[in-house]
């Protein structure tokens, strides 16, 4: 009984915390932290001029602490770092991401982008129920979904299928180089998905969107 009463003395914390939802109204615009945002008016087209005017009038969301005006910031890289981050340790995740750059010699930035591009699936599978039975139907994917799947596969592959004693940055650099050359487990996984989609191409008409 004491235990049941004790929980009433704890400070109240919300049982639901907003992880993916944005509390902002759609009226708010996104912040643009880049230094090149200030372009002289003569070079802008009328639509862009309108957009600039709108930005001076409309309310703007608060910028995240990870937004920088530096030219080295890459939105794809930031997304990947966020996905790799565990328990909120952004410093650790960023450190892991910057280390393979020393291993990869020529233009690590474009290597990273090309590797992820090679890992992106073109067609995905969706589960559709028809006549009491669920079928795996080949389905076109949105760009966001494709990028997310590529990054997710890369991270899971690096975490699970490597030798226990290798560091994450080593595993990442190996996988990125392999994906850049269209080899390796991540690209194999992409090809497996394509194969399954090709095998199930008869069910393509079960889609209604």
């Amino acid at each position: 009984m004491a235990a049941s009463v004790r929980h009433l003395l704890k400070p109240w914390t919300p049982s639901l915390c907003l992880v993916r939802w944005s509390r902002y109204n759609s009226y708010y615009l996104d912040p643009d932290p880049s230094k090149d945002a200030r372009v002289p008016d003569s070079e802008l087209s009328p639509e862009q001029k309108e957009l600039q005017e709108l930005k001076t009038v409309r309310r703007i969301k608060a910028a995240l602490s990870s937004d920088t005006s530096s030219p080295f910031s890459d939105p794809l890289m930031s997304k990947f770092i966020n996905m790799m981050m565990q328990d909120g340790s952004k410093i650790l995740a960023r450190g892991i991401m910057t280390q393979p750059r020393e291993e990869i010699e020529c233009s690590p930035h474009s290597v990273f982008q090309q590797a992820l591009e090679n890992c992106k699936p073109i067609i995905g599978l969706a589960s559709v129920q028809k006549g009491g039975k669920s079928y795996q139907v080949p389905v076109p994917l949105t760009d966001n979904r494709r990028g997310f799947l590529a990054m997710k596969w890369m991270i899971t592959e690096c975490r699970d299928n490597k030798h226990r004693r290798t560091h994450m940055y080593e595993k990442l650099s190996q996988e990125l180089l392999a994906a850049f050359a269209n080899e390796g487990n991540v690209v194999k996984r992409k090809h497996d998905l394509h194969r399954m989609a090709e095998a199930n191409r008869a069910y393509a008409h079960y889609r209604w969107w």
């Binding site: 073109i122 076109p140 194969r195 090709e198 209604w208």
Partner: protein
């Protein structure tokens, strides 16, 4: 207005100054000329809600492009560089289909049931005078 049929007849003269619809309804409910046409169980008043429409089942989009792409894959052992043309065609088709679906959803001159419900929640029909 939660008024039963019998009371409606008494209010008939008051509603005369109102709309033509009220008169017609009153006539349908009246027992003056034989049995009444309407015998309402619930009150004859609109709800502050619109019924949501059933989603019309469309068809699968871009199936031909997908099948072409898959044929190319089968021939070339899933090599994306060789099949790049089919891939780009597929992407354009998908984008067009997405734009079409988005455009179709919002227009056609009608409010969506969700939008109508939000508006009605903000500006409901007055059922009784406060």
């Amino acid at each position: 207005m939660f008024i039963t049929g019998a009371v409606y007849i008494r209010h008939y003269r008051k509603a005369m100054s109102g709309s033509v619809i009220q008169e017609k309804v009153a006539k349908l409910l009246s027992r003056q000329s034989g049995k009444p046409v309407l015998r309402p169980i619930k009150p004859l008043a609109l709800k502050n809600e619109v019924a949501s429409r059933k989603l019309k089942k469309g068809e699968a989009t871009c199936v031909t492009e997908m099948s072409l792409l898959m044929a190319c894959w089968k021939q070339n052992d899933f090599n994306n560089t060789v099949c790049s043309k089919e891939v780009s065609v597929f992407y354009t088709c998908v984008e067009k289909a997405q734009n079409k679906a988005k455009a179709k959803q919002g227009t056609q001159g009608r409010l969506l049931p969700k939008e109508a419900n939000t508006l009605l929640k903000r500006f409901p029909n007055q059922s009784s005078e406060i």
